[in-house]
Each structure stands twice: as C-alpha cells, then as structure tokens.
C-alpha cells in the first residue's frame, strides 16, 4: 500500500477524528484554507438582520426581501445566492461569526487589509503577516512542501515575510514544469531587492522537490478563476504533507455603486465555491482536519448611498466551516441602532480572537506571541 493511500484511509477511519492523537503521524497537520473577500464584503447583505426595522430603513433600495432570504435564525437570513451553504448550515458545519472587526477602524482598503494581514492594532505597523510570524515560531514539518501556498493571487497577505516558506502558484503542474529554472542553493546579497529574489528562488526549488500537484477530482467547481483556484486548493489539500495553509481570494467586493447584481454574483461564487470545496475535501478525506475561514478588510456602511451602493464600513460577518466546526451563530448581531459617528457598526468580536481560534484550532499553536496579547478563543470547534 502506498503511504499516501494509507494516510487517506487513516484519515477516513473513525479512530482518527479531529483530535488527531499526537504521535499517530507526527508529520501530519491540520490544514487551514483562508478565503479573502477582496474589496470589503457587505456583511449586512450577506447575513441579513431582516427582523431589525433599521435594516430596511437604512437601505431603501438595497434591502433584501425577507421572503427571499435563507433563514438561519428568527432574525437573520443568508443572501439567496448563498443557497449552497444551506446544507452545511443544516449539517451543523457552518459557523457564522458576526461583528468581526477591531477598535478604531481604518476605512482605507489598503491600510485595513494590512491591519488584518499583520494582525496589528489600528495604529501599529507590523512588517510581517500573522501567519508568517506563527510559522517563524512553529514551522511546518520539514517534509512539507511549504508552510503556505497562495493560489491564483498576487500578494502573499498573511504569509508575507521572512518567517514563512510561502509559494504562489495557479497551476501546480505548470509550477513544477517551470521550477527547473530555479536554483536551490543558498545565495544572498546585500541588495535588498536581489536578496528577496534569491529567497523566492530558493523557496521555489525547495518546495518543488516535495510538491504533489494532487490528482484530478470528481468534484466539479464552477467555471471562472475562483472555481479554478478552489479546485487547485482542493487538489493540493489532498496531500497531507503539502502545506499548512492555502489561501485563495475572490475580488470585486468594493460595491460603491449598483451593488445588487455584482454582490449577488460574488456571493454565488463564494457559496458555490465553498460547497464544492467541502465536497472535494470529503472526496479526498481531508474534510475532518481542514478549517476553511473567510476574511475581508472591512464590511460596508449600513446606510446605502445614492448610487445604489455602499461605502466603506467596519465590522462584518465571516464564515468558518470544516468537519470539526460546531455550526451556529457566534459573535453578536449588528447593532444598527448604535452606529458610530461615521454611521458605521461597532465591532463585537476582535479579529484577533478569530485568529487565535484558527491558530490554536488548526495547530495547537500558542496565539499569544503571534498576536501580541491574549485573545479569547471562540468556541466554534468541537474539542
């Protein structure tokens, strides 16, 4: 029996559940798949507080009709385009975390995503991504191809920095074909740009030795770049010694004008994509030890603007799913009656609590040194 087949069987066996017994396979690790919603997703039209009278008042044109929503509680419902998330919700595998944000919010896309990527406070400038900091202390096992793989995106986001071995690719086979052009020996330079190029080249060569592009999957993904990125993520995920983190992103959420059509399409891609990802991870036996989590730089303004759009906001809702997730609503429903001076929402859950949950939940890593303080975990995982 091939080692990989053995592992796949092992993963499927009930003895090896979420709480992987230490020592069962020391090199095996849980996988975190991050999905970035670029541009600032409108949380209020993602998980809609339909019972709140302020919702319709603030959004005469954008409010979604109550009977079109997919109810998840007496007061909240999912956008209709997220219909394929409903089975996950009903299975109890979808955690909805409401009110994620941070104190003294910054409304610039670029500064706010920097805050999210580096897990800094609002007025603190950190050079490295939060995952890069975590891997610097707690690297992936040596046999792993990389700490993190960014699929189909440009920036490394939370993986940026010297602390992580991170690679970016869109097609693993193509990556491996080209990787022969990279040299793996240690070379360095006093020129910072050149030193960066040499590090990237070395990371390519090192990961190419071990990267398993995975096999074709039966699961189908929607056409388009996001579906393609998720399929690649699922194929890479099939190898339990591939990477600790995979990040994909979906762009276009900056809906300042004519929001309804665009936002609906984006949420359809998100919902369909996450549902297909689940199916593929079940197919490859990795669903039980994978966490999938969304994030975005901010939510959007509760009050719509005159262009049938929404401007930059603050706190928003995010999804965590996976075989070990305890489905349900977490955090607090948006308080539309208590907006701040800019007309934005107050946050209920500090995003660093979200990260602490993921760090500890995925790898048992101590989040305190990474996040620079103590942030209470959210109880959204089965222990």
């Amino acid at each position: 029996m091939e080692r990989r087949d053995f592992l796949r069987l092992a993963a499927a066996s009930p003895l090896v559940a979420w709480g992987l017994p230490a020592g069962a396979d020391a090199s095996r690790r849980r996988l975190l798949i991050l999905v970035e919603l670029k541009g600032g997703n409108d949380g209020l039209n993602t998980v809609v507080p339909f019972a709140d009278p302020h919702y319709a008042r603030l959004r005469p044109r954008l409010a979604l009709a109550r009977d079109s929503l997919l109810a998840v509680s007496e007061t909240a419902g999912l956008h209709p385009s997220l219909e394929r998330l409903l089975p996950l919700w009903k299975e109890g595998e979808l955690a909805i975390v409401q009110g994620l944000g941070y104190p003294d919010p910054n409304l610039s896309h670029f500064r706010s995503i920097e805050i999210w990527d580096t897990a800094s406070s609002s007025h603190e400038y950190l050079g490295e991504g939060w995952l890069a900091r975590s891997f610097a202390r707690n690297p992936s096992p040596a046999g792993f191809a990389a700490d993190g793989v960014v699929v189909g995106g440009s920036d490394l986001g939370p993986l940026a920095g010297a602390g992580a071995r991170a690679i970016a690719l869109s097609d693993p086979e193509d990556f491996l074909r080209k990787a022969r052009l990279a040299r793996g020996e240690a070379r360095t330079s006093a020129n910072a740009s050149l030193a960066h190029i040499l590090k990237v080249e070395r990371d390519i060569a090192r990961s190419a030795d071990r990267l398993d592009p995975g096999r074709d999957l039966r699961t189908e993904f929607a056409p388009g770049p996001f579906g393609a990125a998720l399929r690649t993520a699922a194929r890479l995920a099939a190898n339990p010694h591939g990477a600790s983190v995979i990040r994909v992103s979906l762009a276009g959420f900056d809906t300042h004008a004519n929001q309804p059509g665009v936002h609906g399409q984006l949420l359809r891609q998100l919902g369909d994509g996450l549902a297909s990802l689940r199916e593929a991870l079940v197919e490859t036996g990795r669903w039980t030890d994978t966490l999938v989590a969304t994030y975005s730089e901010f939510g959007r303004r509760p009050r719509e603007n005159e262009s049938a759009g929404t401007d930059h906001g603050t706190a928003s809702v995010h999804f965590v799913t996976g075989g070990a997730v305890k489905g349900g609503l977490y955090g607090e429903a948006p308080r539309l009656d208590r907006l701040d001076g800019q007309g934005n929402l107050a946050f209920a859950v500090d995003f660093r609590r979200y990260y602490a949950t993921l760090l500890e939940g995925a790898w048992g890593a101590d989040p305190r040194p990474v996040l620079g303080g103590r942030f209470e975990r959210l109880g959204l995982l089965h222990s």
Binding site: K38, G39, N106, L107, S108, H109, F110, R111, S154, D155, L156, A166, I167, A168, L169, S170, E173, D174, F175, R177, K178, A179, L181, A182, R183, R187, S189, N191, A192, S193, L194, H196, I197, L198, V200, E201, I204, S207, E220, F221, A222, P223, G224, P225, G227, A228, R231, T232, A251, D254, H256, A257, R303, N305, E306, S307, G309, D311, H312, Q342
Partner: protein, 501 residues
Amino acid sequence: MSRARPLARLAGAILLAAAGLAGTSLAAPAAPLGEAAARHLLVRTGFGATPAEVTRVAAQSREEAVEALLAGARTQATLAPPAFVDEPFFPFHKLRALPAEERLAYARRNAQEGLALREWWFREMLVTPSPFTERMTLFWHGHFATSQQKVRSSRLVHRQNALLRRHALGSFRELLSAVSKDPAMLVYLDNAGSRRQAPNENFAREVMELFTLGEGHYTERDVKEAARAFTGWSLDRDTGEYRYRPFFHDGGTKTVLGRTGRLDGEDVLALLLERPETAAFVTRKLWRELVSPVPDEREVERLAALFREADYAIRPLLRAMLLSEAFWSPANRGALVKSPVDLVVGTLHTFGIRPFDLRPAVAAAALLGQNLMSPPNVKGWPGGEAWIDSSTLLGRKQFLDRLMRGADAMLAQPEPMMAAGTPAAGAPTAEERLRRMMERGLATYAVDWERWRRELAAAGGGAERSQVVLLAVGPVDPPPDPADAVALARAFAADPAYQLR
C-alpha cells in the same frame, strides 16, 4: 476662498528656473558618464537600452543627458492610436437597454479594443524617441489607476491615456484637476453618479489617500465633506464627456481639512495641494520609481519643497531628482525590481526584437502581474519586491528562457510550455486565454544573434560590454565562456540580477 495666486507662482517658477540654470553652469567640469552610468540613466527613465544607446549617452555629462531627456519629452504619442478611438462613444444607458447577446458582443468588442490599445502602447514604448514620456505616462497610470474592466469603454480609457501623456511632465496641479474630471476616472471611482442626497465617497477618499495626501493625513469627516463637494462632477450620458450637473451638486457649507465654506471640487483639490503632505507623497512615489525602494526622507523634504515652490511643475522635480547624488549613487544601482513591462518591453528593446504582433508581449506582461489599463485596484500596482513571488519569478525566467533560446527552446521542449494542467470546466478563463495568446505569439519572437554580435562589436566591445549593457549589478552566478556573446547574453538574462534595474 481665494483660488490661485498666479503672480506669486509665476515669480517662484522663474526664480527656480534661474536657480536651476545657475546650478548647471556652476557644476564641476562636465565629466562623461561612462557606460554603466549611461545605462543606469537609460533603464531608469526608459525601457531597456541597446548597446548603441549606451555608447551614445556614455559620452554625455549628467546634466547634458538629463537635459536631453527632459527636452525630448512629448505630450502626444508618435503612433496613431487604433482607429476605433475616433468612433462615437456608446452610451452606458443604451448599453444597459441592449439584449443580452448584444451586451455580450459589446463586452467582447471592448475587450478586443482594450487589447489593441495595450498593443499600441507597447509599440509606442518600443519606437518612441522619448521612452521617458512613456515611463512617466505609465507612472501616472499607476498613480491614477483606472481599470478598463469597470470603465467598460475603450474610448474613455484611451482618452485618459492621452490625458496622462499630455501632462506626464507638465503640471501636477493641472494633471490632478484634469484626471479628477476625466470620464474614465468619474466612472471608475463612481463620482459620475454621486448626488447630494447621499454622496458616494469612493473618489473623495481615494483622491486623498492615494492621489495626494496619503493615508493618515485626513479624517473620515474630511472624506464625507469632500464627497459632498465633488457631487455634480459627472458625465454627459450621451457623449461620455465631462459634464457638471448642478442638480447633483451639494452647494452647502462644508469643512474640509479645517477650511469651511461653500466648497466645490476645485476648492478641495486646491486645499489638497496646499498641504505639504501632497508634494512629499508624490515625491516619495516618484523616488521609488526612479531612485530606490526606500526614499531618503531628507532628500524627499528638499525635493518636495522644490516641487511646491514650482507650483507642482513636474519637470523641475524630475531634473532635481535625476541630478541628485542618490540617483547616481553606486548603492542604488540595480536597487529596483524591473516591472513586468520593464522586463518584457525592455528586453525586446535591448535585443532589437520588433515583432509584428505585440499582443503576446502584452499577454506576457499581464501574466507576470502587469496588465496595463487593468491595475489590480485603485492603488495601482504595488511594485518593488511585490512584483516577485514564486509564480511571477518562474514566469519571468521562462519568458526570458523562451526569448533567449528561440527555436532551440521549441525543439527541446516537447510538451507545451503552459499546458492547461487543470481540466478546463467550460469556457477558458481570461488567464487561460492570455496564456494561449502568449504561447502562440512568443514562438515567433527571436533574437537575431548576428545582429546582436554586430551591435556589440560596433559599440566596441566583447564580454565586458555584454555585462554593462545587460546587467545593473554584477551577475549572481559566474558567467560561462566569456568569448561567446550568445552564451553570455543567455546567461545574463537567466541571472537573478537581470530582474533588477
């Protein structure tokens, strides 16, 4: 509030010009640049440099070379744009009313036209006698980033490109005002539909954060109030031209950056230019384009003061920056990472490759992360080290490998260079289409090595000359047989140092 003080500005400009002239005449005896410095100036201000260009500029002094660059700057492209730019604008409201198939046909045609525009721009970069004009046009395109995907009209995209070129080395004050009323920008940042009842904040925020002050130098209240001031700057729905719509405009009292009044959009732009942060912000960005990744703050202060004194005339700022010690410092040679356009256009130019079809080159740059007229977002391309990740570095190496080995690469590589490893579900993605376009076309690109040898010889050199023409700093990996110009060029193009400029 008072608008301009033209007299004071004019006087300032004259004094400054005089100071500049005096500085030139007092400079030490004009020493010739030499080849390495000549190449440095050429690749920082243009796209690549041929052996002949290096030789020509090497004989000039710093001042002569910089003055020649500034004097040669243009306000128009040398090549006529694709013919469609003169066709009438197709109004968005008519577009929305079309049946679905016709809308799709419009979108396809628009994408084709966009590609033709990019190809036209790439060719302009290759053939223009003033590559500096194109570099500055590209710089402003990254600064005032606008994407064709959202604007959905290649005519408007072309008009903006022409506007950026017209002001590329002119006045930042005029450029800012013109671009703020530019139809493509009005669509891209949603100001066209912004109304007084509930203004759209998109443009008001980005004009402060990304175009002038920089993040942290304004408040959320400033954004909201400025958004009110910009209401009314809109489009004529039928012609696609700028049009002021008084009915949309909020004529009430606003307070922006501490100034209160019945401010309109021009007032807000003037206020932004009054702040010292604006000159410093633009100077820093230009420094990262021309000098080094980390601006020297004392120099930024000096140059930004000069920029303001000159009432935001761009030329004096460029002159001062290009004549600064930092620009010529050996420590800053090769300190910048080539952008994909630098890499693709620069390599074609350096080796004298003039393909009939430049769309594969456009596609190559796009796949490497720089699709002109389609920046990733309003912040433009982040640039610097962000150009290089494992995916783009491999893409760069492969592009160069392909170009340098020409027909050999085809024979040596039985499988397609970019085989679609993932079974395509349905229609090909935009990325797959770009790959195919690059694939097909790149096979027709090749270096004429005989010509390359002749050029090197005419420029009076062998191996050392190859290095000085091709690399900003010494190679990381030791080069092979120094007698073989072809082997050397291939080795230098494959060297990590080739990614620098």
